[in-house]
């Protein structure tokens, strides 16, 4: 198959376009990485060839971890993402299960409402929500974002899980019902364990979305001690017109690692979840 001519054709047809897309997609991350290990003398010297590092240093990372609250922001981000994801999976399941398995009046209306809420972007709600959070005295608490992130994540999880639940065959549940198990028992002991892959997909997405969220965190969290990574990086590492590019890029890179790591372990689940909504429809 792979003759000299065939190989050349293969390279032109496959690796030329794919290589181009890879280069464009990855260059910003490469630039982030090498900026974070360049000394300032190299960063701000226009006579040095910029694409490689001449004298690598970890100074920016040391500064980031010792002179800013980056570790605290990371902790806040993780805590918020984990709790919001857990809440959203539970509430999402409580919506998706009846919609996937029960027959009752109003089911299709509820399903449509959930789909519609899932599509409501945050900028439509942030001003009233800011006022509500204020009145509840929740400003500058992690509770404010733990409460508001599930407003996007619950409909999302419910929608994704609904599709997954419908694809699980009913026979096992029917058998359990005939054996005298109650609805709750059937759901807990037979059905939910079968749906683990669906929970993983929904969980990864919810976690990624929580890590990515910026607008609510920017508005609700204005004290350094409660900030999440994206807001901390933007609000505190960019100071007026003075940029600390080495530190900024170190923060951007470290802040991306948790998501990238989880994503790399579950990439198949992620792609399945990504395409579930559109391809099956």
């Amino acid at each position: 198959m792979v003759t000299g001519h065939g190989r050349l054709q293969h390279v032109v047809r496959v690796w030329l376009p794919v290589g181009f897309f890879l280069l464009v997609a990855l260059f910003p991350f490469y630039w982030m990485a090498i900026t974070s290990i360049k000394p300032n003398a190299e960063l701000y010297n226009r006579n040095v060839m910029p694409l490689i590092v001449h004298a690598p240093t970890l100074k920016h990372y040391v500064d980031l971890l010792t002179k800013s609250s980056f570790l605290l922001w990371t902790w806040n981000t993780m805590l918020v993402a984990v709790v919001a994801t857990a809440i959203s999976l539970i509430l999402g399941t409580m919506l998706a299960y009846p919609l996937a398995r029960m027959r009752f009046a109003g089911a299709s209306l509820i399903a449509m409402t959930i789909a519609a809420i899932y599509l409501v972007p945050q900028p439509l709600l942030f001003i009233p929500l800011a006022d509500i959070i204020n009145r509840l005295n929740l400003g500058n608490t992690l509770t404010s974002v733990i409460l508001t992130y599930p407003t996007m994540l619950v409909p999302f999880c419910a929608w994704l899980l609904l599709g997954y639940f419908k694809s699980v065959p009913r026979e096992l549940e029917e058998a359990a019902r005939i054996d005298g198990a109650s609805r709750v028992q059937t759901m807990r002991m037979i059905f939910l364990p079968l749906c683990t892959p669906g929970f993983i997909s929904a969980g990864i997405f919810a976690f990624t979305l929580s890590q990515n969220e910026f607008l609510y965190a920017l508005i609700f969290l204005t004290k350094s001690t409660v900030r999440t990574v994206p807001v901390g990086v933007i609000a505190e590492l960019i100071r007026g017109d003075v940029f600390y590019w080495g530190q900024l890029m170190a923060g951007a890179l470290l802040g991306s690692i948790p998501v990238a790591l989880i994503y790399s372990f579950f990439v198949e689940h992620y792609v399945a979840g990504l395409t579930a909504g559109s391809v099956k429809a």
Partner: protein, 310 residues
């Protein structure tokens, strides 16, 4: 069978002895509504209520930390006479339209390139999705640095290739700033299109292509008359989806330009933010945010109906 019939009276007895709640719970309707009550209450409190409260706010003169006074449609009239508002509206439509077109065409290209046999395909696919999964704010900061007025790596490469010094002022020039945010939005969103369309391409039956090839159809015709029609539903859903979130984009612009220079990149979301959080006029800000509603509602209803057809 004997065992089952032996057990029947026992089961019936057990059922009679159960508390009525358990019997009720066995009804599908009761079980469903009980289970959905908590999540529905949650969504009503934190999505439904804020939505209507937002409408109420838009009808008030409401400075931060003071009670509002009802002013009717005054905020919306102010918007209509505000040249920045109109600029913001045009910006938002240009940004959404051009970025969507680029993502659609580029994403289709990416999907077609990826829909070939080659080694390490899964690794390549995983790497290509990185721009989409990394938190937007963090990758946008990297772009901010890549387009820095003094040390832009893009400009240094362009100058090295013969472009006159110092190269374009990406975020300082009004037109180029719009070009920049469109390119970066495309960079981030294109993998979403590409990978979703790739999944769609993989469901196209090979026999169709083979039959068409036998009938003498060339590459372009096979693409035009087999691939494209079969992909249309997916393209439509992905596009509607991405249009909604591009139209209401906030983070990218906030980080890159704050809406500047001279409002050249200000979008509905960033302008509403400036008015409400910067100037402290919650009512006016809410009216600008609500100006997105007609277009968004149309898109959301269209997509919801389309997804339901499943």
């Amino acid at each position: 069978m004997t065992i089952a019939s032996d057990r029947l009276p026992v089961l019936a007895q057990a059922a009679r002895r159960r508390v009525p709640l358990a019997v009720l719970l066995d009804r599908q309707g009761v079980f469903s509504w009980l289970m959905m009550a908590l999540p529905l209450a949650f969504l009503a409190a934190l999505v439904g209520y804020p939505f209507f409260y937002g409408i109420l706010l838009s009808l008030q003169d409401r400075p931060v930390a003071r009670a509002g006074t009802f002013v009717g449609l005054k905020n919306f009239l102010t918007d209509l006479h505000d040249p920045i508002f109109w600029q913001v509206a045009i910006n938002t439509f240009v940004y959404t339209g051009v970025a969507t077109l680029l993502k659609m065409v580029g994403g289709l290209g990416l999907a077609l390139a990826m829909n070939q046999h080659f080694r390490m395909k899964n690794l390549v696919r995983a790497l290509l999705l990185l721009p989409f999964i990394v938190p937007t704010v963090l990758s946008t900061v990297a772009w901010l640095w890549m387009l820095d007025p003094a040390f832009s790596v893009v400009n240094r490469l362009m100058v090295a290739l013969g472009w006159p010094k110092p190269g374009p002022s990406w975020l300082g020039d009004p037109t180029l700033a719009m070009v920049s945010i469109i390119i970066i939005n495309t960079w981030r969103g294109l993998p979403f299109y590409g990978i979703t369309l790739l999944a769609g391409l993989q469901t196209v039956p090979q026999e169709l292509y083979e039959a068409a090839a036998i009938d003498g159809a060339g590459g372009w015709h096979r693409f035009r008359f087999i691939t494209l029609p079969l992909l249309r539903p997916i393209i439509l859903i992905v596009t509607l989806f991405s249009v909604i979130f591009t139209f209401a984009d906030f983070q990218l612009v906030y980080v890159l330009t704050h809406g500047g220079p001279q409002n050249a990149t200000n979008l509905f979301a960033t302008y509403a933010f400036d008015l409400a959080m910067g100037a402290g006029q919650l009512g006016l800000g809410a009216s600008v945010a609500l100006a997105m509603l007609p277009a968004l509602a149309l898109l959301i209803v269209a997509l919801t109906i389309y997804m339901r057809r499943d």
